[in-house]
């Protein structure tokens, strides 16, 4: 826009951010950092200023921090108009207006969508309403669950052994509470890291006194006379008495409010290009609507231009920064968001980190350390190249494997490394479950191919 309109945008434009959490806040800060002086409106359906979610399943459940004290540190003043506690309910792309649930409308020159995901609820609504049944996504969820754990329940049931479910189970054990984990797959974390690593995770659960049940589904939650949950029924015919249930079945993308807007938004998220610009339903890239964070789905050149949806903290930050940068840049100065996915978790006293896309891997090789000691590096291979890596208490080496992924280095790694053990001489099948058998939601979703690929279809909500 050599006509000076970019300067005008920077000076007196209107930018609206929908979703006032991690990605929204970091985008706003970046906009101000890059010299945006116009009006900035932050729309968030939660009544709170941006807060951090990872502590909710860790420090908060352990009683080491309260859910109220997880506010995100501010990098700088953002001087925004805050519209908190009101969801955005619609988008008029032609008129460039965001509709709010309270009837208001907010005009924009550039829109940033960072509405994230929400916890997938227990499918049976009446059972989900039972007192004592929780999900864990928001500050209120965290505060409520922590309070209930404080009260000393007799047994907690966690449904779903993904990262969040495993962290919840770990926190319960650390508090000395009895906990059962029910997982439909064969092991915890199996959807994200495969069966080889899942087996290590299963051992961690059991050694720490978790009653881990795999290959089963919870079929029904049963309430007592007072409307409190009292038992759960399993697909293997057994029944478990429990007074707290945490449903940890993955997430759903917050895109329903965009139904009918003409934006390429659906249950898998909002498709955007590598520069964070959203596609419309026709697959044509927009110029004024940007997306970042858990709700975004963007193509990645390192992973065959697959569209990746990542539920990763670091991705939300990096993508928000890129989106904000591109929002204020001439097309030639725009940057792609080609962040190598990276994720961490901590459970049962073990620090777990991953880079790349392990779930694309077909084989794994333990290149350093040993599974038995729970201190190791596993490298994932896909079609003869390194595609991902995971470390258990061994994260200082991770940067190297990240570079291997970036360099599309060959798999199995042809060189020796320090701390190579006997069982790490050869790759083995990574053992991911058949994707048609659902576990809890994965933390990485792959879908479709490049925009040039005919197989890609956008499915707007409600169709």
């Amino acid at each position: 826009m050599p006509d000076g309109s970019l300067d005008r945008l920077k000076r007196e434009g209107r930018i609206v951010v929908v979703g006032a959490s991690l990605a929204g806040l970091r985008a706003a800060e970046t906009l101000r950092d890059k010299g945006f002086e116009g009006t900035l409106t932050m729309i968030g359906d939660e009544p709170y200023e941006p807060y951090d979610r990872p502590p909710l399943s860790k420090q908060v459940l352990l009683g080491k921090a309260t859910a109220e004290h997880t506010a995100l540190p501010r990098r700088r003043e953002i001087d925004a108009e805050w519209r908190l506690g009101v969801p955005a309910s619609g988008l008029d792309m032609a008129a460039r207006r965001v509709k709010l649930a309270d009837g208001d409308e907010v005009p924009y020159d550039r829109l940033m969508i960072a509405t994230g995901v929400r916890a997938r609820p227990w499918p049976n609504e009446a059972e989900a309403e039972l007192d004592g049944v929780f999900v864990l996504r928001t500050r209120d969820d965290g505060a409520g669950l922590a309070r209930r754990l404080d009260a000393g329940p007799k047994r907690v049931l966690v449904i779903g052994a993904g990262f969040t479910g495993s962290e919840i189970a770990s926190a319960c054990r650390e508090r000395g509470l009895e906990v059962t984990v029910a997982e439909r797959g064969d092991a915890p974390l199996v959807g994200a890291l495969g069966g080889v690593i899942g087996a290590v995770a299963a051992e961690m659960h059991r050694e720490n006194g978790v009653d881990l049940r795999t290959g089963v589904m919870v079929t029904r939650l049963e309430g007592g006379a007072t409307g409190r949950v009292r038992a759960a029924h399993f697909s293997d015919g057994t029944t478990l008495e429990c007074d707290v249930v945490v449903v940890s079945l993955g997430a759903q993308r917050n895109t329903e409010w965009l139904a009918g807007s003409g934006l390429g938004a659906g249950p898998r998220g909002i498709a955007c290009d590598a520069g964070c610009r959203a596609f419309d339903v026709r697959g044509i890239v927009t110029d004024d609507v940007f997306v970042a964070g858990d709700v975004a789905r963007s193509p990645h050149p390192l992973f065959g231009y697959q569209f990746l949806s990542l539920e990763h903290w670091g991705n939300a930050v990096a993508q928000a920064e890129t989106a904000a940068h591109n929002m204020l840049s001439e097309s030639s100065d725009r940057r792609p968001h080609i962040w190598v996915p990276a994720f961490w978790s901590s459970q049962f006293g073990v620090n777990i980190k991953s880079v790349g896309v392990p779930s694309m891997g077909t084989e794994i090789m333990i290149t350093q350390g040993s599974r038995a000691e729970r201190r190791f590096t596993g490298v994932y291979g896909y079609q003869g190249r390194v595609i991902g890596a995971v470390t258990f208490d061994n994260c200082r080496w991770l940067q190297f494997y990240e570079q291997q992924i970036e360099a599309t280095a060959p798999f199995p790694p042809p060189f020796p490394t320090v701390d190579r053990r006997a069982d790490g001489q050869r790759p083995i099948p990574a053992d991911f479950p058949d994707p048609s058998v659902p576990t809890h939601g994965p933390t990485i979703t792959l879908s479709g191919y490049s925009p040039a690929d005919r197989r890609m279809t956008f499915t707007p909500a409600g169709h």
Binding site: G349, T367, Q368, G369, E373, R375, T377, R396, W397, L398, Q399, F400, Q403, F415, P416, T417, V418, D419
Partner: protein
Amino acid sequence: MAEGILKQILDYSNRANPYPLYEELRKTPVFHDGTGPYVISTYHDIQSLLHDPRLSSDAHNLTATAGDPLADDEGGGGGEEAALPPSFLKLDPPEHDRLRRMTNRPFGPPHSPHRIDGMRGDLHGIVSGLIDNLGDPGRIDLVDQFAYPFPVTMICRLLGVPREDEPRFHSWADTIAAGLDPDPDADPAERLRVTHDARMELGMYLAGLIEERRKNPQDDMLSELAAGHGQDDTMSTMELLSTSALLLIAGHETTVNLITNGMLTLLRHPDVLADLRENPELAVPLVEELLRYEPPVQLLPQRTPLVDIEVRGVTIPKGSSMWLVLASGNRDPDRFENPDRFDPYRKDIQHLGLGSGIHSCFGAPLARLEAQLALSELARRLENPRLIEDPPPYRQNAVLRGPRHLEITCDGIRP
């Protein structure tokens, strides 16, 4: 590329300001003069090599040390029996991880999260006492009177080593540290012998203390290390000796330079010194910038590849000696804006001063706190301090670089 640049870096006459030489060195990011070590000098290369699992810190994997002026053989392939087994500084995982983990148990989180912070009062008391006793403000040697005794007193207290014994272990520590220094005039065999003797004597001295602690445990690290925690998690006596020797020496020979380099830098930047006097919290970013600008450990001479590796198109053969010049990486303009400017207000100070990766400085939390307290107290209490001699005389050592003396004068000492 100037031949002999390594010689120049090691040459004492360049000790006060090696930075122009590093700049020269960075023009050949993987420098090799045909016989000596492969020298890596840019930030990103060093950073990634520090995380490269194909590099070993174990001298047993070195095959070609010919021509490397820093090659020593603590526990290495040298013919002589080593006095103590190598410390975890010179081991690879899993041994490294096991020893470092056990050493960390009485030192830091998760088992001892408050150890360092709990020493704040102690640290403050020692700093105040030393400043109270500086004597004639007209002529102060900041090294002898402050920067050396402070960390030494502290490491003694932390480990449980009697402060009165300092004159004894001081000379051993000095000898061992000097072993790192390539003195071109010294006879290598003789130097090796002297270093080994010092390690042996230090080991015997520590063995006595540890024996005593086994009988009479106190609230100090030696007692806790000696006690161990269960079968798998106990150090052998020899491991215990080399670990405590490492802690004692590292606690001696590095923080002293950090504090001295820090004061020297502040005296050369009076505006920053004045700012620190008003805002003691500036000490936190200031120490980080110091670790970038004048790191006490200038280079890591102890790495070798387990297989031929390629760095910037240069093949470094398996078993070669490699130097990672941290101090050069810290001044790399590809990484830091205006790298030669001392700027404690910098937002981006991800320096290499404490290393990175699994061998990153074990004592960092203590060293940081010591330097922060020392510098902010000196800034607060010394009235109008000035350098008497600039540059000051340096210690011989090119690796553990810092002034031997720092003579200053000031108008008085505030209470």
